[in-house]
């Protein structure tokens, strides 16, 4: 058995470390095939001949992928899958079922059997590799995407920043958020707030895309916080454009009266009448040049302190990291 508990080595996997897959199969050839397809620094397989033995480990230390052979003697593949998929904390774990042609003679109810994909014998090594890679990528995208805007979320953002840092590439990292979003939400309700977030996402995505560049990336941290990464030389023009487009479009999301008076008037819990300006976008930009940054944590800490500065201005604005200019 190969269920050795070696420390996971650092690697170039999807999350910057080796991924772990648990394989439940009595078929030694299948296990050997899987192991031959990836270097263990990228995807390491832990093989169990019997299903039940692995369940404890599945729950206490869930892997990044589970491959279940339908030839298991002690438990069916669909039972293993439903054990995993019925629990919200394990749901995101991608599960692949390995079938024999005979298994396909009955129709599978894929709503009941929550698999992410299946492999069918006879196995073609290149196809097995492609399918497993694709399944893992798909699971990551689905898990991490913001449910509203469908933009990549925190995990992808962190990975992207760390990847660029590791490669020693120059990049600009911009954190955007909306001023007075909360007062808009309080007055108009969350579904009108969601409209503004969808609009903001489109403005940022299209602006960044229009500047081109393979390095560019847009993510949605959550709520009214967005992130974009792009070439340091273009970032200031991009910020100007995001600010201009946002300021031109956002008044359309207010009722006519508020748009005309240029603010929201509301009464707070103390009974005091307060006015809030129309929403604005604040952008804080930090730079990685000459391998200044070592870890994504540094990047986000820098950006957060800069964001406070951008927030001091009630109008839409951007602030570029001044420490950059001395470099």
């Amino acid at each position: 058995m190969n269920n050795d508990d070696d420390l996971i080595e650092e690697g170039e996997g999807l999350a910057g470390r080796a991924q772990v897959a648990i394989v439940l199969t009595p078929d030694e050839q299948f296990a050997a095939l899987l192991k031959s397809l990836w270097s263990p620094e990228i995807l390491r397989f832990v093989v169990y001949e019997q299903g039940r033995a692995a369940i404890d480990l599945l729950f206490t230390d869930p892997p990044d992928l589970l491959v279940v052979d339908n030839r298991l003697a002690d438990i069916t593949g669909s039972e293993v899958a439903s054990l995993v998929k019925s629990e919200n904390v394990y749901r995101q774990l991608p599960v692949i079922l390995c079938l024999d042609p005979g298994d396909m003679e009955r129709a599978w109810d894929w709503t009941a059997v929550e698999m992410d994909d299946f492999l069918l014998r006879p196995l073609i090594p290149a196809e097995v590799k492609a399918r497993i890679d694709l399944t893992m990528n798909r699971a990551l995208r689905a898990l991490d995407a913001n449910p509203l805007t469908k933009l990549p979320g925190n995990t992808s953002i962190i990975q992207r920043i760390q990847l660029l840092i590791d490669r020693g590439e120059d990049f600009a990292l911009a954190y955007c958020d909306l001023d007075y979003f909360k007062s808009f939400n309080d007055k108009y309700g969350f579904s009108r707030g969601d409209e503004v977030l969808m609009m903001s996402a489109r403005v940022v995505v299209n602006t960044i895309k229009s500047f081109g560049g393979a390095k560019s990336f847009v993510g949605h941290v959550g709520g009214d916080d967005f992130v974009f990464i792009m070439s340091p030389d273009l970032v200031e023009s991009a910020c100007k454009q995001v600010v201009a487009s946002f300021d031109a479009i956002v008044p359309q999301f207010y009722d006519l009266k508020d748009r005309e008076q240029g603010c929201i008037v509301s009464t707070d819990r103390q009974g005091e009448v307060r006015t809030f300006p129309l929403m604005a976008v604040s952008i804080a930009v930090i730079f990685n040049r000459n391998k200044r940054l070592k870890h994504y944590g540094e990047a986000s800490a820098l950006a957060m302190s800069l964001k406070k500065k951008a927030k001091e201005n009630p109008k839409s604005c951007y602030v570029l990291d001044q420490r950059e200019s001395s470099l």
């Binding site: 509203l148 969601d194 609009m199 489109r202 995505v205 299209n206 895309k209 229009s210 999301f253």
Partner: protein, 280 residues
């Protein structure tokens, strides 16, 4: 019987998939979107001269899939929100009228003229966002285009009725269909989630006093439509002098002296846009 026809026509109208346009503007925009360095502003200026492309862009950006239906009425905002790929998709998927329908040229000129006039009126009447008034002016006869595409036989019947009875297009529509392009405009605007101000301009440009939320929009398009016909710029389907509702001037708080300034302004502008011919 009349209700059955209305339901049937409505179904046909809303089923419109491929709304073709005239080749001139489409060719120009197609060239622009080939070049990734062209700004959306520049593309927007050209799209804003074509009622079908404008309608398609607004329909797209206001579709619920983008998450903010009914919010966007300005073409430049729409283009920023749609992005280059989607704009290119809209352009590529737009076809051109076949030869039989090429006599739409006059209607295109009339619509562009109305957009220009609406913009000028809005500026003189000191209204906010004159570009949105252009959009509504541009789209005010879209119902006629959709009828020509979806119900070609009825379109021909209306055309014949105009000649035979010597009436306006709207009157002929009412004789043939039982209702006019204003009603069709309202269906389209609702179905495509267009913003309410655009909808009221499209739906009430023959009866501005009936517009409940945006009377200034309806009054502007009403006056614009009247002036363009007065100048005989383009051809909206008939040679009649359209009835003018003076209430439009009251709604817009315009005096006769303002009207003279508007007319002066317009004669210059019509010379400018006449360079933009829809002739091939």
């Amino acid at each position: 019987m009349a209700e059955d026809l209305k339901t049937e026509v409505k179904g046909m109208v809303l089923a419109v998939r491929d709304l073709p346009t005239l080749p001139t503007v489409l060719e120009e925009v197609s060239k622009l979107v080939e070049n990734p360095d062209v700004s959306t502003d520049k593309i927007g200026k050209v799209i804003s001269t074509d009622q079908v492309l404008t309608a398609k862009v607004l329909k797209m950006v206001n579709s619920p899939i983008y998450g903010f239906p009914g919010r966007i009425s300005a073409i430049n905002h729409a283009l920023v929100l749609l992005g280059f790929n989607v704009i290119r998709g809209i352009i590529i998927s737009t076809s051109v009228f076949d030869i039989m329908n090429q006599n739409m040229k006059g209607l295109w000129e009339h619509s562009l003229g109305c957009a220009t006039a609406a913009n000028t009126i809005a500026r003189h009447a000191d209204l906010d966002g004159p570009e949105e008034y252009s959009v509504s002016g541009l789209l005010h006869d879209l119902g006629k285009v959709v009828t020509a595409v979806q119900l070609p036989q009825m379109h021909t019947a209306i055309q014949e009725k105009v000649k035979e009875k010597d009436v306006t297009w709207l009157e002929a529509e009412k004789l043939v269909l039982g209702f006019g392009h204003n009603r069709i405009n309202a269906w389209l605007a609702d179905h495509w989630h267009l913003p309410n101000n655009i909808k009221e301009g499209m739906a009430y440009h023959h009866a501005p006093h009936l517009a409940s939320n945006y009377p200034a929009m309806a009054a502007t398009v009403h006056l614009a439509d009247f002036l363009v016909k007065l100048y005989e710029y383009g051809f909206s389907g008939d040679d009649q002098v359209p009835p003018f509702n003076p209430e439009a001037l009251t709604i817009l708080k315009l005096r006769t002296s303002d009207l003279e300034k508007i007319l002066d302004d317009l004669s210059d502008k019509f010379v400018e846009i006449s360079d933009l011919s829809f002739e091939q």
